[in-house]
């Protein structure tokens, strides 16, 4: 499947990240929480949500085989820590008008764990 992933930008981000402390985040717990996301974000061609493999460091609306909302297409974000955190906490506040039917995660530790899992999801 053709996928456009900003290679250089992503590598740079990953480097920057390894320097910050993510030791506190619990990847296994993040994986358990991610099951809610996985109901829609699958690798199936008819999935409701885009694949999140390699999402960390990727540009928003980057997959060619997924029809994103106009809001997401215009968002022009890079999915780094700050943007992922804001989006997972309150999807509509971060990208108003996007199509993801999910209210958000309120617990800050849960958000950290999900992000830790997303970083590992390749």
């Amino acid at each position: 499947m053709p996928r456009r992933i900003g290679g250089a930008a992503r590598a740079a981000l990953l480097l920057a990240l390894s320097a910050t402390s993510v030791a506190a985040a619990d990847v296994e717990h993040g994986k358990a929480l991610y099951q809610t996301c996985a109901a829609c974000h699958t690798e199936r061609p008819d999935a409701l949500g885009p694949s999140l493999k390699g999402i960390f460091g990727r540009k928003s609306a980057a997959l060619e085989d997924f029809r994103y909302s106009n809001a997401m297409r215009r968002a022009n974000l890079v999915w780094d820590d700050a943007n992922l955190r804001a989006y997972i906490q309150d999807p509509q506040a971060k990208v108003k008008g996007n199509r993801m039917p999910y209210g958000g995660v309120t617990d800050a530790k849960d958000v950290d764990d999900i992000i830790a899992y997303l970083k590992a999801l390749n």
Binding site: Q35, A39, D46, P101, Y102
Partner: protein, 591 residues
């Protein structure tokens, strides 16, 4: 000119729940299957996505997922002495029309029928004597007991990821679940949804009366769930747009989420949408059907699809229409009580209720799903003693917020003007503060409620429309009146600021306001070909390679929403076809 297509092992007429389940089970058994669907194909990814799917005008009022009455509708009259007129806009009930069927727009209230519902006539006769059943009440037993169907109810539960709390696990009654339900072998696949404030208030008071409230079992998965086919459902987001709409969150069960992704990838299966089946080819002497005729609604061209096995998996009306228009089985005649096709058409006593207004409560009605209601079955079916009451059957009584949508949800106290500044002010004031107890009642068959072919009106293909002759009868009004008294006692004990007028059934059945899409009967199941259309495996008595699915096989309607047994019966029949019929084609029951 009719184009003859290559023969397949089995053809499904309709691709909703039952067509999808049968197609899946038969392809698993190695058969080549074609699924014909009158409506268009849909994909949740394109058609049920935010924000378009939460469009109340488009789906609730303009009925985008509903059958187009300009193509095919039913005519209606209240009694045999009247001439019927066509319903030119669906209202009281809303048949689906697309791949996924009515399950695209159902709410998800998911029930098993009571053990006594499975033996309606014999249970009543045993408890109250045969004379308790009025002569014109043509109720019959189901052709299988609850216990026989239990493994298939279970199978369907696990396809759907139903949320709920068991009240009878292998005979052990469990507080907080429905203690009246038949024994379940297993608990619900997902726990109950988070209950609404109004549901909790209702449950508290109902318990004080000694009743047994429980959370509504719902095919709205309460958390992510991998179903029996390995497909994943999402957790409900409580958006309040279940019925009339597709589900944006993959949480409401339906063929599109629970079965079709696998069928679409199955080489033995072909899906053909906009394929409107007009009749079956029937060899009366051989007691076999040989295939179906259908019209491609894009081109108007007619095709013949030969098949070894035909499954009628359309809505109630489609199944009855295809039998009558193909000359299969004897049409029912209410005067002589002879014939079976169209007999025991039943509906449901719906949308009875009373609205409560609480000045100091905030209900957030915009959050919810059908599963965020508390229900009590203490006055459902034969869960209570009917001696001396003068009626049979009963209601489920429930309260909770499920769908406080901006256009249709405008509760106002009695005396509020119907329009204008005062109405606007009242809707704004009370939106947060109202809650409605609703009742849904059983509807027992009556000799004069039936379906046949209309002598005057035709559909777009030139076939006679179905004619529905239907009205509520004395028994129905009495069921409603009795259960409303119970509901009003609870309402008063909840101590609201105000109580609205009780909404009861009075006078003739009205086809305009929505009540429920719980039409049943017309091709009923039974043990005797003189009084039923299909045997206990849903196999036609008049053609052994014809199987008829869905609520058209119910001998009468209980107070419950019909989808639970519809799915269970599909699995039950599919197993009989695969393990019995395919090995030894012929009648599975000898009359």
């Amino acid at each position: 000119m009719t184009t003859r297509l290559k023969e397949v092992d089995a053809v499904m007429v309709g691709m909703g729940w039952t067509g999808s389940i049968l197609a899946r089970e038969l392809t698993k058994a190695g058969l080549t299957v074609i699924g014909l669907e009158r409506g268009e194909d849909l994909s949740p990814r394109e058609n049920f996505a935010l924000p378009a799917v939460r469009d109340e005008l488009r789906y609730t009022y303009r009925l985008e997922l509903i059958q187009d009455p300009a193509l095919e509708t039913v005519t209606f009259r209240h009694r045999p002495s009247e001439s019927a007129l066509p319903m030119r806009r669906f209202g009281s009930f809303l048949p689906g029309n697309s791949v996924g069927g009515a399950a695209n727009h159902w709410g998800g209230q998911h029930w098993r029928y009571l053990p006594s519902d499975h033996a309606t006539r014999s249970h009543i006769a045993e408890r109250y004597g045969a004379s308790a059943i009025p002569d014109d009440m043509t109720i019959q037993d189901w052709a299988m007991s609850y216990d026989e169907l239990e493994p298939y109810y279970d199978k369907f539960d696990k396809l759907c990821g139903v949320s709920g709390k068991a009240g009878n696990l292998r005979g052990q009654k469990i507080e907080g679940g429905n203690i009246f339900e038949g024994a379940r072998n297993d608990d619900y696949p997902t726990p109950p949804l988070i209950m609404t404030e109004s549901g909790l208030m209702f449950a508290k008071v109902a318990k004080e009366f000694g009743y047994h409230p429980f959370p509504q079992p719902a095919s709205n998965a309460s958390r992510p769930y991998t179903n029996s086919e390995g497909l994943t459902l999402g957790g409900c987001q409580y958006c309040g747009f279940c019925e009339r709409n597709g589900c944006e969150a993959n949480a409401k069960a339906g063929p599109q989420v629970c079965v079709l992704p696998l069928l679409r990838a199955e080489p033995k299966f072909t899906l053909r949408d906009r394929a409107w089946v007009s009749r079956l080819s029937y060899d009366k002497a051989a007691k076999k059907v040989t295939g179906v005729l259908f019209t491609d609604t894009r081109t108007g061209e007619e095709y013949e699809q030969p098949a070894g096995l035909v499954v009628l998996s359309a809505y109630v009306f489609g199944n009855i229409s295809l039998l009558l228009n193909s000359g299969i089985g004897e049409p029912y005649d209410p005067v002589t009580s002879k014939g079976v096709v169209g007999k025991n058409y039943c509906y449901q006593l719906s949308r009875l209720g009373v609205t409560l207004f609480f000045e100091d409560k905030f209900f957030n009605p915009f959050m919810g799903s059908p599963g965020t209601q508390m229900v009590m079955d203490d006055f459902n079916g034969d869960n209570f003693d009917h001696r001396g009451l003068g009626f049979l059957g009963g209601c489920k009584i429930q309260l909770g917020h499920a769908d406080g949508r901006p256009i249709s949800y405008r509760p106002v106290p009695p005396g509020t003007p119907r329009w204008g500044a005062a109405w606007k002010k009242a809707t704004a004031k009370w939106y947060q503060h109202a809650a409605r107890i609703t009742l849904s009642g059983s509807n027992y068959a009556n000799r004069y409620n039936y379906i046949d072919l209309d002598p005057t009106y035709k559909d777009q293909l030139g076939r006679p429309l179905l004619r529905m002759t239907y009205n509520f009868v004395e028994n129905d009004y009495k069921v409603g009146d009795y259960c409303m008294r119970i509901a009003l006692d609870i309402a008063r004990a909840m101590q609201p600021t105000m109580i609205g007028p009780p909404g009861l059934r009075r006078g003739d059945y009205d086809t305009v306001p929505y009540q429920s899409t719980h039409n049943t009967g017309g091709t009923i199941m039974g043990h005797d070909p003189k009084t039923s259309v299909v045997n206990r495996y849903l196999q036609s008595w008049d053609a052994d390679n014809l199987f008829i699915m869905g609520a058209s096989t119910f001998p009468q309607q209980s107070a419950y929403n019909p989808t639970g047994p519809v799915g269970a019966l599909a699995y039950w029949s599919a197993e009989a076809i695969v393990t019995k019929y395919l090995k030894n084609p012929g009648p599975l029951v000898h009359a």
